[in-house]
Every structure is written in C-alpha cells, then in structure tokens.
Amino acid sequence: MATIWIDGVSYEADPSRNLLAVILELGFDLPYFCWHPALGSIGACRQCAITQFRGEDDHQGQVVMACMTPAAEGARVSIDHASAATLRKSVIEWLMVSHPHDCPVCDEGGECHLQDMTVMAGHTYRRSRLPKRTYISQDLGPLIGHEMNRCIQCYRCVRFYREYAGGHDLQAMGTRDRIYFGRYQDGPLESEFAGNLVEICPTGVFTDKTQARHYTRKWDLQTAPSICTHCGVGCNINPGERYGALRRVRARYHGAVNGYFLCDRGRYGYEFESSDRRIRVPLAPRGEQNQAEELSVQAAVTRVAKILTSSRRVIGVGSPRATIESNYALQRLVGADGFFHAACAEEHRSSLAALDALREGPSRSPALREIERCDAVVVLGEDLTQSAPMMALAIRQAALAIPRSVAERQGIPPWHDAAIRESVQSARGPVFLLSPAPTKLDDLATRVYRKTPRAIAAAGQAIARALDPQVPALAGDEMDRAGIEEIARALTVAERPLVVAGSGTASEAVINAAANLAWATSAAREDDRAAELAYALPWANSAGLSLLGGAPLDEALAAAERGEVDAAIILESDLDRIAGPGPAERFLGQVRHAVVLDHIAHPTAARADVVLPAATFAEGHGHLVNSEGRAQRQMAVFSPDEPIRESWRWLREAMMLAGYDEADSWTGAEAIAEAAARDHPALARLPDAQLSADFRLGGAKVARAPHRYSGRAAAKLHLNVLEPTPPRDNDSPLEFSMEGSPVLPPGKIETTFWAPGWSSPQALTRFQEEIDGPLRGGDPGVRLIEPAGEPFAYRDVALSAPSPELAPTPVVAAFGSEELSALAPGIAALAPRAFLELNPRDAASLGLADDDVVSVRARGASARLSVRLEPGRAQGTAGIPLGLEDIPVALSFAGELITGS
C-alpha cells in the first residue's frame, strides 16, 4: 500500500492502480470519459485532469491525467486545484460544442454519463454560437440505434467492440473533427456483444432500439436482481419494468460471473415476456367442442387436482429453463422415478456427465472472471460464441493473459491500455480450438482443429494420455503427435490452464475426454494442480435440473408407449420442440391427461387438458444453477397480473387440494427453497444465494423502484380512480414500490445503482468494494459444486462405433436457438434461417449442392432442410441448427439424412 495525498489529506492506495481508479474508489467525484474499469486507460479524452505537486512546498503543480498517472508512493495531487478544475471545465465545453439539443428525445437521457460529467465539471451554459457539426447516422439493425451527432469521440465503443469483444465491423473512420464511429455501410452489427455499446457509450450514440418502442427512463423502472434465463452461463441482469411489462434488460455487475457485460441474447431476449404468445389465464385448450376455454383459478386447480387423484401413475416433465423450486415441486408431486427432464437423451447425458466430472475429479469449475485470468485454453468441440457467448468473451480475455504478462514484465502497468496494446500487438496466448465447424473464436486461436465430435473426444483423450500415461488409450485418434505435444506442453507450463467443453457436440464422450484432459494435467505439472474445467451447459437451469436427478424425455415417451402413464404434468417446456411434433402428439395421446405450465403458448400446450399461466423470470422468485455450479437467485421484478404465478405455486395449490400434505409447508419462495435444500444434499447451500426475506435495513425493506419513480398517482387511474396499494412481497427483502429504506443496501440486493451525481451505469464504482472487485457486501450466489480432489478415476470415454453416416452435430445460434429469446422480435429478426450445413466434399459424395432440400429424421421427428455448404466444416459431420424455425431438438442431436430418394 502506498500513501498518497489528495487535497492535503493522506490516503492509503494500491500502487498498482492509476489515480483515477483510486480517486473514484475513495468516493471522490472526478469526471472522465475514455477510462472504463474493463478497458483500462488511454488518456484520450483529457477529462480526468488533476493537479500533481512535486512536493509539500510546490503549490503551483502541474496538470496530469489521473487515469494515466500511477498512484505512486508519496504522490501529492489536488482535484479541486484551479488549474485542473478550469481545464476540466474547458474540456467538457469543447466536447459539448457540437453536442445536439437532443436530451429530451435521447434514450440515454437520465442515465447519461455525459450529462453527469457536464454537471460534475461545472459547464452550465453553451457559450459557443458556432453551428454544430452533423453526421449521417446508420441503421445498425434491429437491436441498436445509432445517432452519431451525439458522439464526443471518446473511442470507448471501438475499444470495446474491436479490442475487448473481438468484433470487426465497427470502426473509427475519418480524420480531424470528422471522426466517425460506425460500420462501412448500414447493417446489423455482427458481434454478439454489440448491445454492450449501449452501456459503454458515455452518451446516446448507441441506444437500445428494442427499448425505444416502449421507452421508459431509468428513474421510472422497477428493477430487481435477476439472472438471465437464456443460456447456462447465469449472467446477472437488471431487468426493468414499467406498467406491468419488461422495458429492457441491463447487465448487472457481478464480480465473479459476468462483470460489466452481457451478450445480446441475454440483453434483448426479454421481449418474449410481452409476446403475443404469452399465456395469461388458465385455459382448457380442449374445452367444449374442442374450443379453448378460459378457466377460473379455482376451476383450473380443481381440474388439476382431480387429474392427480384419479390417475394411477402421474409423471412429470421438468424443465431446464424452470427454476429449482418449480422443478422440485414437480419432482415431489410425481416422485423421483416419475420425474423426467425436458431434454433429449444426448443433452441429458452430457449435462449429467459434466456435473459428475466437476464433482468427482480434482478440477474446479471456474467462474467467468476466473476464466478471464486463465492463460492456456483448450476448447473441445463447443462453439462458445453461439452457445455461451459470455464464456467466449471471457476466453477472449484469457487469450491476452500471456501477452499481457509479457507487457507487465516490461514495466507497463496493467491499466495502461494503450501501452499494453502496443506491446501485445497481435500476440494471443495459447488457445486451442477443436471443433466440428468454424467458430468466431478461430481468429484468436493458436491452432484450430476441425474434427468430428468422435475425433475431438479421441484427441482430448490422446492429449490427456500425453500428460499422464495412466489415461487409457483409445482407438480412433487422428491427431498428429506434434499437435498433441504442443497442447500438452501449453497446459503444463501455463499458470492457470483451462479446458472447456459443452453439450453442443451432442457427445458425452467429449465431456468425459475434457474431464480426463483437465485432470491429467495434474500429473504433468510441477505444482500438481489440475487444469480448470469449464462446461457450457445449454440452458439456464440445466445444471440445477441435473442436480435434482431424473431421466431424459425419451424414457418418458417410452413409458407412455408402454401404457404406463395416466397423466403427465409438463413444466415450462414444449415437447414438440424437443421430440418433434409427431412423438409429442403421440405421447399426449397416450397419456390420458396432460397439464402444461408455461409462460408461452406452444403446440404441446394446445393439446393439454389444462394449461396454467406460469410466471416468467421477471415475475417470480426462484433459483437457477449455472454451468459453473453456482446457484443464483432470481427475484421478481414486478408482481404479475392475477392469476399468473410461479409454476410451483400452481403445483402447490393443486397438491394441497389433492391431499399432498407436504405442499402445505411451502408457504413461500424461501420455504420451498429450504425444502429443496433439505431434500437434496447437493442443494444444501441454496438458501445462502441471496439475503433472506426477513432482511431489513433500519427496519425497512429495500425499494425496487428508484426514489424518483414518477406517476404513481396517475399510472393506473384509468382503471380505478382509487390509487391501488402496491402489492406486498413476502418472499424477498424487496418492496414493489419506491418506498424502502433510505440506507444504501448491500450490493447484492441493490436495485437501481444510482449515486448522487452518478446517474449512468458508471455509478457502479460506488457499489464495488474496490474498482473491478466484488459488489459492496459481497457478490450474490453460492457455489454448489466443488471438486472432490485426489484420488480420482479417469472417466470412461466411450466412442461410438465408426460409421459411414454423417455425424449429426448441433449448430447453435446465439440468436434463435434458445426458445424464449427467439420470441423477442429483435432476436427473431437476426436469427438465421434453418439449414443443413455440410462439408462440400460430403455433399458431393451425397450428390447434394447448395440449396438442395434434404429430409432429416430422428426418433419419429423429421424436418426438411436446405443444404448450405461450409468448406470449414469437418468432413463426416452434418450441422443441424438447434431449435431454429421449430426444428425438433432431437434432430440436431441425432438426425439422420434421408438421401437418395
């Protein structure tokens, strides 16, 4: 720790940081633009000027940029000194010379960093009478709005987009005062992380286009800590609600998981919540004369209870996108042997294998921020940019770990971004990709191998064997020795090696091979540490569902086929989408009664006896377990209109009516989470994921809405002139209104992230324990899975027999593969059309050409897909998109091509 002097007062500071970070951390206000904790300093905007003195007797000092000056021992600086303060005021005045008079119609207004900084620097009136510079803005697609006139040329956007997120199609163009940030022509931004520009941009150049249709200011949004439901990474989000509908989703800082950012699937997928397909009342889809009939709550629950009491064997289909609580309630209702997962066999096996591997061996599953610090990465099979985008972003940072450490050995401080870039140039740390098809991470990979899933597993095993001869040998290893040695060596010498795999290859063998590879590193390394092991599981609660246990959907279908099932309760899943319309219809025909609980209408729901409207992630409470094995709590953002409620509450009501006494004790979200924790040792720490409902600050709960929430004496008055009292929330320490404790709550339940003078997302520095550190009072969530350590037994990698058939491999699309986000109009517009991707040679041998239509079939489901040739795809694989245009998931994992006819 170094002692520094700010305006004559001494403070302890971390000398590895720059003065701007230290000053912000100490709670001072100092305006800045180009600095960002994730991007580092480049000293471009000249806004964070402070005066530095040579010693105690120096009263004149010199102006320096705080972000470019280390917090060295004995540094004496002044924030308030006239020379720096005047410069800051002048700089903002120059920046504002051409800033348009847009604030009222600008979506950034009210949370604009530029507004905050203008006020902070003291620039009040525009003295300039010069005409303002203008630009022609671009159409950047359905997600992001572009208004270049507002730009202040801080370069944050290109630094994030190109250097941090690896995008290519956003550039700084032009010279002089004509600098332009945009694409070379109109068109959607290609990066999956483009949405972060909305938060990165200090003003309103990049805005959230989905929000513009139902625009609401930050101060009017009711928010609560929540978890993204669109993939298994479990990023923290802050959804905002107004007038009973979600208005936007913003990244919610988590010191260990997603940091500052979010992928576009997570950011823009929220609009499914107000989709036309929402189920809002209980329905009997096959009522009188097969007409859909709305039911009262009472009638619906009675019908379900009657089905429960009159059926001999009831099974339940749990969902990887439903919460632990809902799945647990269903599991208790149908019993452990009647509980199935809404996942096809391959996906189910992959998830179980991944969890077993994380629990049995010595390898720890790293959180995203830990992945960023790994310095050698091997990815087996998974296209992370599409299936778990934020994990890909973390690996992009990991690829810089070694080049950065080289720069640091040259004496460059870690925050000095410009110098580090200069030192790093195009060097990227060892990243090895083994995949069936090109991925967006290929550009940073040290080596890319295109292989079939079977060969990837074999290669993984071969590398593991090169590290530890005890790993059993496998036939079918096609990898050259040099390549194996290279990867093995990288894993051995690295400080923090990492092995990544996922369920995206539809191969349990790849999962197991990744585990063996990670574990085997411990044998070769001097420190005996095993590599870290990260799995990308497909859905938000895949891990949680697997921890509860249960059989795959295929077995439920088989049981129904055998006539063993009288009734099925289907939780938040569309069986048509998983098994295909044919098998799903057959299944629903074989069970006498079916009950569906879901937020959105789908073909399976249309064939059920009773459909119950389930709360979405924004409307209810619950826990999700992410791929890392971290349980995280979703808190209801708003109280939905009656009768929408969490699935487990519907189940509880039906169970109580049907005489399942156990359900009585599930009096609230916390009670059922505690029951699940008692019943499942793996979930024992579940209730620790968030503060409990009896948490109070000065005797009060915490408000969901900001203190300046407007319009509550008018918002609902067209319905009833008597202003309604806000709904109560007995399940969390939050209140559904702006009434709450005036004391700042712990970061994990902070809702608004606003501090005096800081209205923009940059206010976050006020809520972190240290810059880039955990939230004040600790990050939320709790890890449920820890490695068992030594001794361990290598996992059995069972390769399928070699076959002349093309191996089906799912092609995951960040936009479209996930069921709920695909309903959001913005995401839907960017989702690719369904296709069948083949290597041109495979296609030629099958006599297929581009755009030929081929039938694909698996387990009774089928689809017709048009061929797309991809020279980069590994020979012997057929890429079948996951979930696009309602292609049954089973086809992506097990589809066979029907050719020749």
Binding site: P104, A212, S710
Partner: protein, 171 residues
Amino acid sequence: MVFVLRSLWVVLQHMFRKRETYRYPEEKAPLPPRWRGRIVLARDPDGGERCVACYLCAVSCPVDCIALQATEDDQGRRYPDWFRINFSRCIYCGLCEEACPTYAIQLIPDYEMSEYRRDKLVYEKEHLLIEGPGKYPHYNFYREAGVSVGVKDPGESREEEPPVDIRSLLP
C-alpha cells in the same frame, strides 16, 4: 391603550372602503396569462405534437400525478402513446411546465374544472391536447434538435452544418 384604540379606529374605517371580493361566478377575476390553471399539451407551429414524451414533467411532478408512455412513429419521432394527468391530485405548481424542454405542457388560466366524480378529473391525452402552440407560438423542438425524425434532414436544424464527409482527407 391608545394604540389599541387606534387599531380599532383604523379597522372601523374599513367599513367604508370598497370591497375586494369578486362575486364569482357572476363576476370573474381577470387572470394573468401565466396564471397556473388547467394543464394542456400544445402543438408545434407545424401542427405536430410538441410532446416528445421525455418524462421530465412526470419526474418533476411533486405529487406524481402525471403518467405517460413514450412511443415512436416509423420516422423515429417520439410522442406519447398515452398521457394521463390526475387533476384530483394536481397541485398546479407548474413544475411540469418548468421542466418541459419543448413547451408542450402548459398551464393555462382556467380553473373551472370541478366535478362531482373524481374519475372525471383523470384527463387523458385526448382531453389535454389542444390545436395550437399555446403561449409559445414559434418554438419547434425538432427544428432545434439533432435528430431528424422526418422533420428535417441531418444538418438542417437551425445552427447546424451540413453533414460531414467522413471520406474527406482534407486537413
């Protein structure tokens, strides 16, 4: 003692003064043009809605009696989808008018809006929107702003240069 008598005498003299009271409703008080009464939404000189749904009136309202929802037309012009003022809560403080960046929301010299039912005091946009520009006849926000939204092309606002040519390399 004398001062008491003097006060009494001074007050007593008021018996012969003219009375200040206006005998409303037969006789109406003349109101100054900036009198703060009923709230209206004005139009710009082109006849378009002035309100850009920026929510500043709602947030400045000390009794939270203004609620609205912003939306956009296909040109990107922002306007309120609906706009509601609960006059049974309104205290006619004028802060909304003060906050309005486009002169859309204006308080006018009209106070005769009593109702027997509270719900009739909840005014929707169709009750609030007037045909003219109200107190500020010449202001047109979209002619000053940087956004185009179909009102003008980029660079055509007052005091704007034509759009820069980003391909130019001239110094």
